[in-house]
């Protein structure tokens, strides 16, 4: 891909202070690019830092160090006018369809809220726009006068999408948008997101732990473990031939409805270590079935093992 990336994330770190003067390394030295028009996914288990990473990119949290370049421009150094544009063009969809909508506002007001900051419109035009957006996410105009608690989870999530679309963005961080939804509703929302992407040329940063959905929607995937990127690859090669032992274990743990030949499941021992006190060397070394002395001592760097397929593992080539 020779295109100019939309976002360039370089050595991004985001630490949180924890009790007793310790620090939680939520995002620890992460580097990747997001190209316009693609869906880039961050996958991993809870606490791996994927949500923090997405939020830091949009500036919800200030970064601890590293750089976030938006169209070649450092986001932390943007002028007020630039920041205003940044706020409009980059949106977020949230995981919890219950807490992401203000319970005291009507759906119409919720959708209008951000739009009114950035676009000068008459009230009639605003209502028209709301109707148009509702229609776009597969709902009808009479939803505008309803309150969030009257809607089902899937409908609320679509309102969240409509609110983001109202800003006419080109980049959306989708933070576990389907995790709280029922299976049949998940497919609805994913279909909608894919349609919108194709129609409007959106770029997504899709954050999820649902590996089958991630495969379906992503162009490229970054696998995170304990704040670090362990593998970075286009979708197809990643699922065909995962290189990192963690990715392999993660994939083999997916419960599968499509009951084909069962591969031998890789059992990971133990639990995810605390990000306050990660293992030395390779962070996965404490649970890795292949770990050697070197893994406990020396942290591996992200290296390109095959074309566009990066992995953070000393042994990946041999496995």
């Amino acid at each position: 891909m020779s295109k100019q990336p939309l976002f360039e994330i370089k050595n991004l770190k985001r630490y949180f202070p924890a009790k007793g003067g310790k620090t939680v390394k939520a995002v620890d030295d992460v580097t990747f690019d997001i190209f316009p028009g693609e869906t880039f996914s961050l996958v991993g288990e809870s606490g791996c830092g994927k949500t923090t990473c997405g939020r830091t990119i949009l500036g919800v949290y200030p970064k601890t160090s590293g750089s976030i370049l938006y169209e070649g421009e450092e986001t932390a150094k943007m002028s007020k006018a630039q920041l205003r544009q940044f706020r409009r063009r980059n949106q977020m969809i949230f995981q919890d369809p219950y807490s992401c909508l203000d319970p005291r506002m009507t759906i119409g007001t919720i959708i209008q809220e951000g739009m009114n900051v950035h676009f000068k419109r008459t009230p009639a035009q605003r209502n028209e726009k709301v109707t148009e957006l509702l229609f776009k996410v597969g709902l009808t105009a009479d939803f505008a006068s309803r309150f969030p608690h009257e809607l089902s989870g899937g409908q609320r999530q679509r309102i969240g999408i409509a609110r983001a679309l109202a800003m006419e963005p080109d980049f959306i961080v989708c933070d576990e948008p389907i995790a709280a939804l029922d299976v049949s509703i998940q497919a609805q929302v994913i279909n909608l997101m894919i349609d919108l992407q194709q129609e409007m040329g959106l770029t997504y940063l899709f954050i999820s732990h649902d590996l089958s959905m991630v495969r379906h929607i992503s162009d490229r995937i970054g696998v995170m473990y304990l704040g670090s990127l362990v593998e970075l690859s286009p979708t197809a090669p990643l699922y065909e031939k995962p290189l990192h032992p963690y990715t392999q274990a993660l994939f083999s743990a997916i419960p599968d409805v499509h009951r084909g030949k069962k591969e031998q499941r890789i059992h990971l021992q133990g639990e995810i270590p605390s990000p306050i006190n990660p293992p030395s060397g390779c962070k996965f070394s404490s649970r890795c079935p292949y770990a050697q002395d070197r893994c406990h001592e020396e942290a591996p760097a992200l290296r390109e093992l095959e074309k566009d397929h990066f992995v953070t593992c000393h042994l990946a080539a041999q496995l």
Binding site: E45, S46, G138, S152, G153, G154, Q155, D182, V183, S184, I185, Q186, A187, Q188, I190, N191, I194, Q198, H209, L211, S212, M213, R215, H216, I217, S218, T235, A236, Y239, A249, L250, S252, A253, I254, P255, D256, V257, H258, R259, G260, K261, K262, R265, H267, L268, G270, E271, I272
Partner: protein, 341 residues
């Protein structure tokens, strides 16, 4: 097969301001000894309410088990038992684990005491023996260093560990029936896989029957013997795992199976998805509850509720498509094992 649990015509309602919400509508099923039954469906389909009705855990949340319902467990009429008799069965003959292990454990008690408490309620034994049993149980659920873990409080454990402790408490008295209500929903995939493996091996070891309540068909596939798919408080399809996964007949089961993208499915292609949302359980049922969302809806579906039709001894489907007059339809691609690589 010997029947351990028989549920007949179970109806459960909740009274709300808007009226009577009929959460479970005429559910009947049998569970044999050592059998694993999965109840699958989306939120609000009545799967959790059904499982709680079996334990008679509904009264506190305002659920009313209607006249005419029958629940028989080991030959005993559960609905006719006094609270005292019920307490003797609960926790010893049948026990339950819940989705949220944080709220199901007492935060002010060590996990050792919580396991031992359950033993003391049902058995006269010494503290020493109960402690040994607790350690043994923690070993059984594969918790490392059980002796030190006994002294831990719930918040000192991770979600997966807590769920293991819940299982240990549930197994303390060798129950014949374990009801697991979404036991892995709050957990990560790798932990979920560990836990399901554990449950499977414990089920064999203790010769238990298990009712697994879940929304995740993937978990069901390699755990259950029998599956029943629920929708709007009724069972729309039931059968053995093979029947449900390899030759499903109900359009709702098709939808559930195919809304999870398969490996062979082209990336970013349209997923088979259901429109709309499940019906409001406030409304009386006069039609097939799935009709408004069903791709194969026929006029008859809106006129009458389909009766359950048994294709084999085990495979039942409540759908008008099974009627001889109905046209033959093929399930959407990817269903019934067409997707095997």
């Amino acid at each position: 097969m010997d029947s351990l649990l028989t549920v007949k015509n179970l109806n459960v309602s909740f009274n709300t301001y808007a009226g009577e919400v009929k959460a479970v509508r005429g559910v009947s099923f049998d569970l044999g000894v050592k059998e694993a039954l999965a109840m699958v469906g989306e939120s609000g389909c009545g799967k959790t309410v059904t499982s709680k009705a079996v334990m008679r855990l509904l009264s506190r949340s305002g659920g009313i088990i209607k006249e005419g319902s029958r629940i028989e467990f080991m030959g005993q009429d559960i609905l006719g038992l006094s609270t005292r008799e019920l307490n003797r069965i609960r926790g010893s003959k049948m026990s339950m684990i819940f989705q949220d292990s944080m709220t199901s454990l007492n935060p002010t008690m060590t996990i050792g005491n919580q396991i031992m408490e359950n033993i003391f309620t049902h058995e006269k034994t010494t503290r020493q023996k109960a402690r040994e049993r607790a350690i043994e149980l923690l070993k059984l659920v594969e918790i490392p260093n059980p002796e030190t873990r006994l002294k831990n409080y719930p918040h000192q454990l991770s979600g997966g560990m807590r769920q293991r402790v819940m299982i240990a408490i549930a197994l303390a008295l060798n129950p014949s029936l374990l009801i697991a209500d979404e036991p892995t929903t709050a957990l990560d995939v790798t932990i979920q896989a560990q836990l399901m493996d554990l449950l499977r091996s414990l089920k064999e070891r203790f010769s238990m029957s298990v009712i697994l309540v879940t929304h995740d068909l993937g978990v069901v596939a390699d755990f259950a013997d029998k599956v029943q798919v629920m929708y709007a408080g009724t069972i729309v399809e039931r059968g053995t795992v093979d029947e449900i996964f390899d030759s499903p007949r109900h359009p709702y089961t098709w939808a559930l199976l195919s809304s999870i993208p398969g490996r062979a499915q082209e990336s970013k292609s349209k997923l088979y998805s259901l429109q709309g949302t499940p019906p409001d359980l406030l409304l009386p049922l006069q039609q097939c509850p799935f009709a408004p969302r069903c791709q194969y809806c026929m006029p008859i579906c809106k006129k009458a509720i389909p009766k359950e039709n048994f294709l084999t001894d085990t495979h039942g489907v409540a759908c008008w498509l099974q009627h001889p007059m109905a046209p033959k339809v093929t399930p959407p691609a990817g269903i019934g094992g067409y997707d095997h690589e």
